[in-house]
């Protein structure tokens, strides 16, 4: 262990963890400690994907992550998506395709898709990307517009 005080990066900004209790979830740290309310609380048990954020570039369910365990990691929330080339493209694609109705699941979808399309993810077949979204629920859209947004984002990133 280094002598550095425990910290986490959230959307590029260092966040000190000294006062964070051992059982606090990343979801609560983001929403209530940092005021980043874009990340949504859905089922709070890992079943709906509304709270998905990126941790070190991969989609993670923030309701099932303990903040203190992520010391040294980099977190990206939907508030940081516009500053990321892939995240921005995914957001744009969701807008263009009208891939939201009530919008509650949208931040989770945007982050999950961003995680799946990062790296060389845009080379994956769309079916594989959609399978990766198996844990993200939308109760309004029937997923058709979301699938179109995924395809649009994938094409634009190629």
């Amino acid at each position: 262990m280094s002598g550095e005080p425990p910290a986490l990066r959230v959307n590029g900004r260092a966040v000190a963890l000294d006062d964070v209790p051992g059982d606090e979830r990343l979801l609560d740290t983001l929403r209530w400690r940092l005021g980043l309310r874009g990340t949504k609380e859905g089922c709070r048990s890992g079943g709906c994907g509304a709270c998905t954020v990126l941790v070190d570039g991969r989609g993670r369910l923030s309701c099932l992550a303990l903040t203190r365990e992520l010391e040294g990691s980099s977190v990206m929330t939907v508030e940081g998506a516009a500053d990321d080339p892939v995240g921005r493209t995914v957001q744009e694609a969701f807008v263009q395709e009208g891939a939201a109705q009530c919008g509650y699941c949208t931040p989770g979808f945007v982050m999950a898709v961003t995680g799946l399309l990062r790296g060389r993810g845009d080379a994956r077949p769309t079916s594989e990307v959609l399978r990766g979204l198996g844990g993200n629920l939308c109760r309004c859209t029937g997923y058709v517009a979301i699938a179109r947004a995924v395809e649009r984002a994938r094409q634009e990133l190629r």
Binding site: D23, G59, C63, L64, A65, L66, E69, R131, G132, G135
Partner: protein, 285 residues
Amino acid sequence: MAPPELLTPTTEEGAVAELVATAPGTVAVLAGGTDLLLDLEERRLEPRRLLSLRRLPWNRHAWEGGGLTLGSTEPLSALEEDPQLPVRLPALAQGIAAVGSPALRLQATVGGNLGRSAPASDLTPVLLALDAEVELLGTAGARRMPVDRFLRASRETALGPGELIRSVRIPEDRPSSAYRWQRVRPAHDISQIGVAVAYAPRERRWGVSLGGAPPRPRLVPEAAAELHGPRPPEAEVAAASERLARDPALVSDRRASDEHRRRLAAVLCTRAVRAALSPPVAEPT
């Protein structure tokens, strides 16, 4: 009640020492957290300390000695990415793909799945059919035991108070193996029934196990005894499936009726053996 203190030891000796230094019942061991965190949330557990295994070097797997050693804290997603898995141990690849959603599998671990002894686990029937052994580490050193002996009941294992699951060992490749399951909504529900089958080439016998039925996943040797040799004929597959469907564990609960479970057990057993006999291909399950 004060929030629990999070401990993140970086060595296995340190982890065991922390565990032993804490009164039994006041510490919860944390691997991926996909199951434990739900108990903390609902206050079914109120530990004083959380012992995280995340920084231990137990998060990788190795193909060795003709089989596979799984580190207890490796996320299932990392195993999924190994192209050898569907060829050498197809049942395990299919069992892993059956666990939750892709996002959940980035966190969920083999050790956590075993240690929590969930009654409807999709991994434990597979580990049983593959004759897996669990390696436990305590102050007196390591000991091994078959998964079948390790799992006692729902939420109950043979893990001692000062012990941790270090690894899981699958003794040999079982290319003729498969796992089939049924649930209402694939990514979100718990399996109503899971059936794992595997042919052990050295011992020239089959293993058949049943999951999703109480009290815990277990081997059904009576069904396996109907199957003979590496390529059992259809009549033997039918006999094994019928035998499995008569298993007394197939009872009614809130997930399925006994009648539904019996039919599923027979159908899934037949499909699993047929899949095990087909050449390995990358297939979505």
